[in-house]
């Protein structure tokens, strides 16, 4: 599952990329599911009534995420201080989205504008019927027609592919794993201090080994889950790029837009770490030469622009 090397991308097509990214998404989601189950089992193994803890953690995670999911569009728009894109100066923006919606076969999302000179865009909403796209005034000023169309096609892809739903599923898994691990380790700690003698674990060496492995799993799983969540986010960005080409049939448009974003490097004022995931390019300050070690890159929400551009140019 390595990312392509810069400059060594073999010729591909948007269909190939779409299928590849969908497969990998399924793999990551399956991995998260398996990890959640494993952590639940570990908690159950280590602690009396651990199964109750595990199920409780899962339910809490689902409820919290569900509320956020339903309100995702309102929250995202409010946090970014977006305003509706009404007005004759936004005709081109509306027209481009109209055309793309015909190509995509989705209803037209509500369109918003964020007053910020940094060029960027995001899409939000729990499904295509309740979706919204927002662009910064900087994006409208910087991009020409085909570049703007490429960016909008990318955002529409997020909507069509139900990316908010997929991200919510990942958040549920991460939240559940974090809660289970936390509760499980605490209960284990306190019960071993005030503890009752549990024959299960104390009397056979195999049992002790399993117990140690289970504890290690509880400690490491949250970090692994978060890493998988970010890997999923990067995978969905690649998918949105490929799907955008499926709509426009014109890779140079989006590639040119990404090049302009690469050159620009400005930071969106109202973006925070929490909202970073949704923008087309990471809105926070990440200088390319300071990207850091591979371990650090694991926590990037977006793939590096050079690789996205290289892939687009190979289509």
């Amino acid at each position: 599952m390595t990312e392509p090397e810069l400059g060594a991308v073999e010729r591909t097509s948007y269909e190939t990329e779409i299928n590849r990214n969908r497969r990998r998404t399924l793999l990551i989601l399956a991995g998260l599911f398996v990890l959640t189950v494993l952590v639940g089992l570990a908690v159950d193994y280590l602690v009396h009534g651990g199964l109750v803890v595990a199920v409780l953690a899962l339910v809490i995670a689902i409820v919290m995420a569900w509320v956020a999911y339903f309100k995702s569009d309102a929250v995202a728009l409010a946090v970014s201080r977006a305003r509706p894109a009404d007005g004759p100066e936004f005709r081109r923006y509306h027209n481009l989205v109209d055309g793309l919606c015909i190509a995509a076969g989705v209803p037209k999302p509500r369109l918003f504008v964020v007053d910020d000179p940094a060029p960027n865009a995001f899409a939000t909403g729990r499904d295509p019927e309740h979706a919204a796209i927002a662009v910064t005034t900087g994006l409208l000023a910087t991009m020409n027609r085909v570049e703007l169309e490429g960016v909008l096609a990318h955002e529409l892809s997020h909507i069509k592919n139900y990316d908010i739903l997929i991200q919510t599923v990942a958040v549920v898994a991460v939240g559940a794993i974090a809660l289970m691990s936390d509760l499980g380790l605490r209960i284990l700690f306190w019960s071993s201090i005030f503890g009752d003698d549990d024959d299960r674990q104390n009397n056979n060496p195999a049992g002790i080994v399993v117990a140690v492995l289970a504890v290690a799993l509880l400690v490491l799983a949250p970090l692994g889950a978060v890493g998988m969540q970010f890997a999923l986010s990067r995978r969905r960005e690649y998918l949105a790029d490929a799907q955008a080409v499926a709509f426009t049939r014109y890779p140079p448009g989006l590639a040119s837009a990404l090049r302009k974003l690469q050159a620009d490097g400005a930071v969106v004022r109202s973006a925070t770490k929490a909202t970073a995931q949704m923008w087309i390019e990471t809105p926070l300050d990440v200088r390319p030469d300071e990207r850091g070690a591979r371990l650090n890159r694991m926590f990037d929400t977006h793939p590096p622009l050079e690789e996205r551009i290289a892939l687009l140019e190979a289509m």
Binding site: R92, N95, G99, I102, A103, G105
Partner: protein, 185 residues
């Protein structure tokens, strides 16, 4: 025990048949809807043109030949759409696109016209309408591909044969577009 297995298998096959049939119906309806979408976008263009002609007349009245070419091409395209022959429609649409291009080229020589906000708005609307027509054709072809794949692959081709789902044709550009455009200075 065997009876239960048989019942389960029959139920599963039944479910598969129902789901597949519904899927084929939806695919076919998408193709039909996409075909009418093309006509909707073409009509949008017809409706924008009279306004454009009036605006241009205000500044470039003596470009009568070009203006008339657009008006005639528009009438022919409307007739072709009502006539229903897809090949004729596509050809008429191409002629109209060509006439509009000439009109915009001619408008380049009139700086007052180019500065007119109404003209600029119409230019933007017509450009995006061309895009919409192109996208609706693209979507139609995508829908036809999906539908043809669905009715021709096994096992759904058996179902398709039983219920008369027939293959649909793609939208082809008219043969004129294969010839390279003449550039005259």
């Amino acid at each position: 025990m065997v009876v239960i297995v048989v019942i389960v298998v029959v139920v599963l096959i039944g479910l598969f048949l129902v789901v597949s049939y519904n899927g084929l119906v939806r695919s076919r309806n998408t193709v039909d809807s996409a075909a009418s979408q093309i006509e909707v976008q073409q009509k949008r263009r017809y409706d924008l043109i009279p306004n454009l002609i009036e605006t241009v007349k205000g500044y470039a009245a003596h470009e009568r030949q070009t203006l008339e070419a657009v008006t005639n091409a528009r009438s022919n395209a409307i007739n072709a759409q009502q006539g229903g022959d897809v090949g004729q429609q596509a050809a008429a649409e191409n002629v109209l696109s060509g006439a509009l291009k000439s009109l915009f080229a001619v408008a380049e020589a009139y700086p007052d016209l180019k500065a007119n906000q109404n003209f600029l708005n119409l230019q933007e609307e017509l450009t995006s309408t061309e895009d919409r027509i192109a996208y609706s054709r693209q979507f139609f072809n995508d829908a036809v591909l999906k539908y043809n794949n669905a009715i021709q692959t096994f096992p759904r081709n058996v179902l398709a044969g039983m219920f008369n789902f027939s293959r649909r044709g793609f939208f082809d550009a008219a043969p004129e577009t294969d010839a390279p455009p003449q550039v005259r200075f």
